[in-house]
């Protein structure tokens, strides 16, 4: 069925090197376990794993005379199982669940051994997946190199934060000095040399990496641009894939102008909104629960995971594809979308027999006022919802869930804060509405290029 061989000799050889790196990493880990005088059985298990990985590496590097018969590859049933979950609902809900689990189980997964096992598994998953032709097409693209490295970098720094925060929270609970204090941290450090020197080193290292990268990987140039020819799929630069995903659910002026402006303005407003003086200069989670959870929800599930979605799961015609699924330009996905006004006037009102069926439409040749009235009536329900969401919800929240915050923040700060939270929440809300009810726009006034 497949026109492309899943495996070629060069791929197997390259994977051999990856396994060799994994082998070296685990050898070091086994040595660490041994030198720390851990339980002999644990050290033994790590030794066995290392030996196995070494054998994997040898098998890849020496074997491969007949790639078709090479055995170490991702099993088909695993691939089809993973592809089953390739729809936006599963993906987004799954990533949100992972996010919640990450916070709830932070004490467990920040242990070095657990984190090490997770790192090993993720690299192993990547290596095994590379034996699939379609997965390789995505990951092997020079465009996507930063995204794969981003996955590991974001993972590492998230782990680092939670590890330090969990450690510090335990210290605070036990009344012991903070990790930063125990490790020679001072309340204030000098700009020079403490900061500038670090920045210089970072600058040099980053420049070196970029130059090496630019020399090693060729730019993925495509055919000359033409106004009437759009590549299929047409993907934004990787850092804007979250924005592109947002555009699937919103009108361009909303997803391309209003929401990015709110994101930027909101990030700039953070220092003025935050009244919590704790957590300055040291890692903590318990002392800043709300701030950290809110920010991380905006960053991890709503930005990073949408970048992953855009890279790995969106294919031709912006359809959803599993990571091992061939990109078929004719894949059929039913996406019939309906505006809220159509639901309201054609569905609910007709069912309830309140009004005559049909959208309110101004008669042909009506004057401007009549037309405006017809449009506003048509979209009235949606407009009410939006106005209620933005203007009625903040006071309601101030008296209920954000009561304490409202008291401490004052009116103006609270209003800015609550509107930012509502704007952030409107993306997942709209996504869920689209998936659950095929809802296209809550307020749809194409006559005035105004859609929400």
């Amino acid at each position: 069925m497949s026109h492309h061989p899943d495996l070629t000799t060069s791929v197997i050889k390259a994977l051999g090197w990856l396994y060799l790196i994994l082998f070296a990493m685990n050898a070091a880990w086994t040595f660490r376990s041994y030198s720390r005088k851990a339980d002999v059985r644990i050290t033994g298990v790590w030794g066995i794993i290392t030996a196995l990985l070494g054998m994997f590496a040898i098998a890849h590097i020496t074997g491969g005379s007949d790639p078709e018969r090479f055995l170490i590859r991702m099993p088909e049933f695993v691939k089809s199982f993973i592809d089953l979950g390739a729809d936006p609902v599963t993906y987004f809900c799954g990533s949100t669940l992972v996010f919640i689990a990450m916070i709830v189980l932070r004490k467990w997964w920040t242990q070095p051994t657990v984190a090490w096992i997770m790192l090993n598994l993720s690299i192993l998953f990547l290596a095994l997946s590379m034996t699939d032709y379609d997965f390789r097409q995505i990951v092997g693209k020079p465009d996507n190199v930063p995204i794969v490295s981003m996955l590991f970098i974001v993972g590492f720094f998230t782990w680092l934060f939670f590890r330090r925060a969990v450690d510090n929270d335990e210290r605070i609970a036990a009344g012991k000095p903070l990790y930063e204090v125990d490790n020679g941290g001072q309340e204030k450090v000098l700009v020079w040399p403490d900061l500038v020197y670090t920045e210089l080193i970072c600058m040099v290292v980053l420049s070196a990496v970029l130059i090496a990268w630019g020399v090693a990987l060729q730019a993925p140039l495509e055919e000359p641009a033409a106004a009437s020819r759009t590549p299929n799929p047409s993907k934004a630069p990787w850092y804007f894939l979250g924005l592109q995903e947002m555009l699937v659910y919103y009108d361009p002026w909303m997803a391309g102008v209003v929401l990015p402006t709110v994101i930027l303005g909101g990030l700039m407003a953070l220092p003025y909104i935050d009244f919590n003086k704790k957590g300055n200069g040291y890692f903590t989670f318990n002392e800043r629960k709300f701030a950290i959870c809110t920010f991380m929800f905006g960053f991890l599930p709503l930005w990073i995971s949408l970048i992953i979605l855009g890279t790995f799961l969106r294919g031709p015609n912006w359809n959803f594809f599993g990571i091992y699924e061939p990109w078929d330009a004719h894949k059929l996905q039913v996406l019939n979308n309906v505006n809220l006004s159509e639901y309201f006037w054609l569905d609910w009102m007709t069912t309830l027999r309140i009004f005559e069926p049909g959208l309110p439409i101004a008669p042909a040749g009506a004057d401007f006022g009549t037309q405006v009235w017809a449009i506003v009536t048509r979209e009235g329900f949606g407009i009410l919802l939006v106005v209620g969401y933005l203007f009625a919800l903040p006071p309601v929240m101030a008296t209920t869930i954000f009561r304490g915050m409202f008291m401490r923040m004052g009116f103006l700060r609270y209003m800015v804060f609550s509107n930012l939270v509502l704007f952030m929440a409107c993306l997942p809300i709209k996504m869920v509405l689209r998936w659950a009810f095929n809802l296209k726009y809550i307020v749809a006034i194409p006559e005035w290029f105004f859609n929400i």
């Binding site: 001072q186 204030k188 000098l190 040399p193 033409a226 106004a227 009437s228 020819r229 759009t230 590549p231 299929n232 799929p233 047409s234 592109q244 555009l247 699937v248 659910y249 919103y250 009108d251 361009p252 391309g256 031709p316 015609n317 912006w318 359809n319 330009a329 004719h330 059929l332 039913v334 996406l335 019939n336 979308n337 042909a364 296209k440 726009y441 749809a444 194409p446 006559e447 290029f449 859609n451």
Partner: protein, 402 residues
């Protein structure tokens, strides 16, 4: 201006940093880092931090650190003599108690005064100068030189530098006015000669003079107003003299901008247009079979020619714009699915151009089409017809085929 009388050797930034950190460490009470200035004797090293350490607990600025460091090193290099540190201490205390010193000059003054004090033995003359917030480098110079001359000329009595000639300078320094360096120097020299001859006499007027209130003559200003007519003339001439170049510059600027605007306007109407014409012929209606979408004009003219009977049941030919109404990508016509599908965000349109899936908020736009006199179809891209505005009923937007 490099004043070598400060006694201490010039410090490198590294040394200053080391000194500052050592102090901060001592103040915080944590690890006492051994300072880089190991040549400093024990007594000054211990006694010195007392006045300085109090502000050092919260170093507000680099100026603070610098001042503290220099003061310290000055003491250290001053020989470690006990009186030197004692005399230096009162100099620093006012600066420290003042909280945040206002300027580098102030700090420098304090530091140099301290050094000068050591160099000239016990010379309290410098101390008040430093305490009273000298406003400028000139002040510092004055203070430093005065103390120097005091040391060289007559020892203890000579410290009373302010000879009668100096008094205006001192007074004006109090009132906060700046004095030219040349003037200062002249007065200083005069003072030197005077102090050499009659030193003892000079002390008395010096202490009396600072009380003289100088800012009094400010009041007679209302009188100046009366002289209007004379001043007016002179001033208007001055204003004209200053304003004329500005007026000329703005006039030239405005004129240039005007010419540029005209040139830009002209640029909008080029002599030759390389774009394809807005009106063009695409062939006879028989070229377009029922139920087909001609995609051959997309690359050149960004239109599809559609012949279908699905819109309101009439068999018609129309020209659909190939610009997605969501964000302007070019959708592709999928023959099998009978729909236009956009690769950017997944918007889908029926063959009629009506949107049905994805985020596109409105149907594709139509361009004008008509049957020309020679039996050819002519598309007019200069007009567009939008369904949501009810413009698709316009007979110019389609050609009915019977």
């Amino acid at each position: 201006m490099s004043d070598t009388s400060s006694g201490g050797k010039k410090l490198t930034t590294a040394e200053i940093l080391a000194a500052a950190r050592a102090q901060a460490g001592q103040a915080a009470g944590s690890k006492p880092v051994p300072g880089a200035e190991t040549k400093a004797d024990a007594p000054p090293a211990v006694s010195a931090p007392a006045p300085v350490a109090t502000p050092a607990t919260k170093p507000t600025s680099t100026a603070d650190i610098l001042a503290a460091a220099r003061a310290q090193s000055a003491k250290a290099s001053g020989g470690g003599a006990a009186p030197a540190t004692v005399s230096a201490a009162p100099v620093e205390k006012p600066a420290a108690s003042a909280g945040t010193p206002k300027s580098t000059s102030e700090i420098l003054a304090a530091a140099r005064a301290a050094a000068a004090a050591k160099a000239g033995g016990t010379a309290p003359a410098a101390a008040p100068a430093a305490v009273e917030k000298p406003k400028s480098t000139a002040d510092i110079l004055a203070a430093a030189r005065a103390s120097k001359s005091a040391g060289t000329a007559a020892g203890a009595p000579a410290k009373s530098k302010p000879a009668p000639t100096v008094t205006p300078a001192a007074a004006s320094a109090d009132s906060g006015e700046k004095i030219p360096v040349s003037e200062m120097l002249a007065k200083l020299r005069a003072a030197e000669t005077v102090s050499a001859t009659t030193a003892a006499v000079a002390t008395k007027p010096a202490e009396v003079v600072p009380a003289a209130p100088l800012p009094m003559p400010v009041k007679p200003q209302p009188v100046a107003k009366l002289k209007k007519p004379v001043d007016e003339q002179r001033r208007s001439m001055l204003v004209a003299l200053i304003a004329t170049p500005f007026a000329a510059a703005w006039t030239v600027f405005t004129a240039t901008m005007g010419v540029w605007t005209l040139a830009t306007a002209r640029f909008m109407f080029p002599n030759i247009i390389t774009e394809p014409p807005r009106k063009f012929k695409i062939g006879p209606p028989s070229d377009f079979d029922l139920g087909t979408v001609a995609t051959k004009f997309v690359a050149s003219s960004a239109i599809w020619i559609v012949h279908t009977d699905q819109y309101k049941g009439k068999s018609m030919i129309y020209a659909l714009s190939s610009v997605c109404t969501h964000l302007g990508c070019t959708p592709s016509w999928l023959e099998g699915e009978q729909k236009f599908k956009c690769p950017c965000h997944g918007s889908g349109f029926y063959i009629t151009g009506v949107n049905f899936e994805g985020p596109a908020p409105r149907p594709l736009e139509r361009h004008g089409i008509r049957l020309a006199a020679d039996g050819m179809l002519e598309v007019d891209k200069s007009v567009k017809f939008q369904e949501e505005m009810g413009q698709w009923d316009d007979p110019a937007s389609y050609l009915e085929v019977i």
